[in-house]
């Protein structure tokens, strides 16, 4: 009897490593990289705190669709677009600081709701391939966003500020200066620790959002979402409106992603009108996966571990590249490679685990049938 037990233990250790291979890999990369980069502890602490502040909200917005079994919401870029449109209007009306951010959030909300509703409805027609579909929706809406911002703004939609409009008379410039609200939330409550500034107000907002998510899990809607995520058919039998629940989860995620984008951009201080949103989805998803999340399981702990590890790598990679091979470009390429590689690895592991589970379930089913 003892032998199988040891075997079981071996398997579980192996499985523990396989299940957490992505975070383990990242801890190794960071452990090797930090001494090579030669950065001081206070610099790294400062960077990590600032990046925690600006990215947490965005990454947290991904949790709700995972709960509803819809996988990683690559469509969060839609929310980011809505947030950016809000910011463009606010800077045109020159509302500055915190009021500007709040107003941008208010403008972004209805846009996010409409886009999220659309996205959710389309995803209901593509059950089982939500991720690739939401990914393409992101690209598709990017075209619509460009049509809106590059051609309609300033021609059909009144934009008065000449600083925003391209010299040809319509369309928004490539970069929108957000200096007037730069770090207005981060520095609302000034606080320093070991020479690193802490974005207290932003982190408080993030904490509130975490509490909302914890509370939301316990509400009727949250329970429904988890049931739908477990098994759509069973949930339907239990009288849950599956389609409606799924659409709601995407809407919520999109709205929060919009707020997250506004928080992110107030930290950065400039809006790259045509680029900011397109990469944010990839980086947020990579960060979540680095934290040990998978397509069907993600929690708040994954978010924070992921952001710290992923952005540590992101900060040090160019310098390590320069110090090791004398080429900073190499480090830049390396971090792009790692971002994509992490997503690939996590997706492959998830699919393999899913297939194994299906096979085991099938074998068990056959045994019962025999």
């Amino acid at each position: 009897m003892t032998k199988p037990e040891i075997n079981m233990k071996n398997i579980s250790v192996k499985e523990l490593i396989i299940n957490n291979i992505v975070p383990i890999l990242f801890i190794c990369i960071c452990a090797v990289g930090i001494p090579l980069s030669g950065y001081s502890g206070s610099y790294l602490l400062n960077e990590i705190l600032s990046r925690l502040g600006r990215n947490s909200f965005l990454v947290l917005s991904l949790l709700i669709p995972v709960m509803a079994g819809m996988g990683l919401n690559f469509g969060m870029t839609l929310g980011a677009m809505a947030g950016q449109i809000g910011l463009i209007f606010v800077s045109d009306w020159s509302v500055v600081g915190i009021p500007g951010m709040v107003l941008a959030a208010i403008i972004s909300t209805p846009i996010s709701i409409i886009l999220g509703y659309m996205c959710g409805t389309i995803l209901n027609h593509a059950k089982g391939r939500e991720m690739v579909t939401s990914y393409i929706i992101g690209f598709f809406m990017n075209g619509v966003y460009q049509l809106f911002v590059l051609y309609l703004m300033g021609s059909l939609i009144p934009i008065s500020s000449s600083e925003l409009i391209l010299p040809r008379g319509y369309g928004i410039r490539n970069t929108v200066n957000l200096e007037s609200m730069r770090k207005s939330l981060d520095n609302l409550i000034p606080f320093n620790i070991f020479g690193a500034s802490v974005p207290v107000a932003t982190l408080i907002l993030v904490a509130i959002f975490c509490l909302i998510i914890i509370w939301f899990r316990r509400t009727k809607l949250g329970q429904d979402m988890r049931a739908v995520g477990q098994d759509m058919e069973v949930a339907r039998q239990a009288g849950i409106k599956v389609e409606r629940t799924r659409v709601l989860s995407i809407i919520l995620s999109t709205v929060f992603a919009g707020y997250g984008m506004i928080i992110y951009l107030q930290n950065i201080g400039t809006l790259n009108t045509y680029n900011s949103h397109s990469q944010i989805g990839m980086f947020s998803i990579a960060a979540l996966l680095v934290g040990g999340a998978s397509v069907d399981k993600a929690n708040i702990r994954n978010v924070f571990i992921g952001i710290i590890l992923f952005h540590l790598m992101f900060t040090i990679a160019p310098t390590v590249g320069r110090n090791l091979i004398g080429e900073a470009q190499l480090g830049e390429y390396f971090r792009v490679f790692v971002s994509y590689g992490v997503i690939t690895l996590a997706l492959v592991l998830y699919e393999m685990r899913k297939r194994r589970a299906e096979r085991i379930a099938l074998e068990k089913g056959e045994e019962v049938a025999v």
Partner: protein
Amino acid sequence: MDLNTVKAKAVPMIKSFGLPRLIITGFLLLMFVIAPFAGVNVASGLSNMFTRFGMNAVLVLAMVPMVHSGCGLNFGLPLGIISGLLGATMSIEFGYAGFTSFLMAIVLATPFAVILGAGYGVLLNKVKGGEMMIATYVGFSSVAFMCIMWLLLPYDSPTMVWGYAGTGLRTTISVADYYGGVLDNFLRIEIGHLVIPTGTILFFALLSLLVWLFLRTKTGTAMTAAGSNPVFATASGVNVDRMRILSVVLSTWLGAVGIIVYEQSFGFIQLYMGPFNMAMPAVSAVLLGGASVNKASIANVVIGTLLFQGILTMTPSVTNGLIQTDVSEVIRIIVSNGMILYALTRKQEVTR
């Protein structure tokens, strides 16, 4: 014939043709009709369309084998492109010229395509059902990985490396002195403004014929069977996993040849992030031609590429002439991704 019978015949025809395809065909025809009023020469518009058809058709053809074996749309096309780029740069490095350099590029790309394709195929066999998302990210990660390699690999042909550093490949490399235009200029037809790159189109026709013939061999039929009904195929003694790997290798190789054909017409090799966004246009072109997630034919490739490239070449010139604005980029994004979305959300494919 009264109206009802016409309607009864027309509705299923439209349905089988697909509404999006109908709209886009109509749009393209409209472009050609209003082109003269916008001051655009129709003949040069057609020439552009044919040139770009020749450039892209083989890349679109690379979708066919994988769709046949049930691996879905080949979003991992960048992997094939990378093999092609390795072949192309090595052919130049070894100093081949003219048509030989074109052939050698294909020959040198082949082992890479076979090895990378086989690895990719084995991976896709482990993730059945989730191929498309993983294919996308395999493509992206391999492009990013090759960005590192292009900097480090020991190339030293002065036409390819950065002048001042002496190492690391340039982002764009001219192929004018090597295989630039070797197919385009073969039996080239020029009537006034109308130019047809006969050689490129013949080369595509040859490859299509080979693929068409292959799909009718015993192995090809087995591959199609593996795609349309894996359970039945296994029962009749087909090794489904092996067929899928074979199809991925074929698709990857066609992607490699496709990018070399593209370069000879385009005139440049684009390295680094160049291959990054090349999968989407090819995927949407084959869908535009009437393919679906699990069905694709050579006819789909031809029609789709003509339509897609037609829109790409006609809209900028026509809209520029009419409203002095170039909205082609936006139209390209919306059309290509809209087409993919349409294919992903169709009912019959969800329940396969």
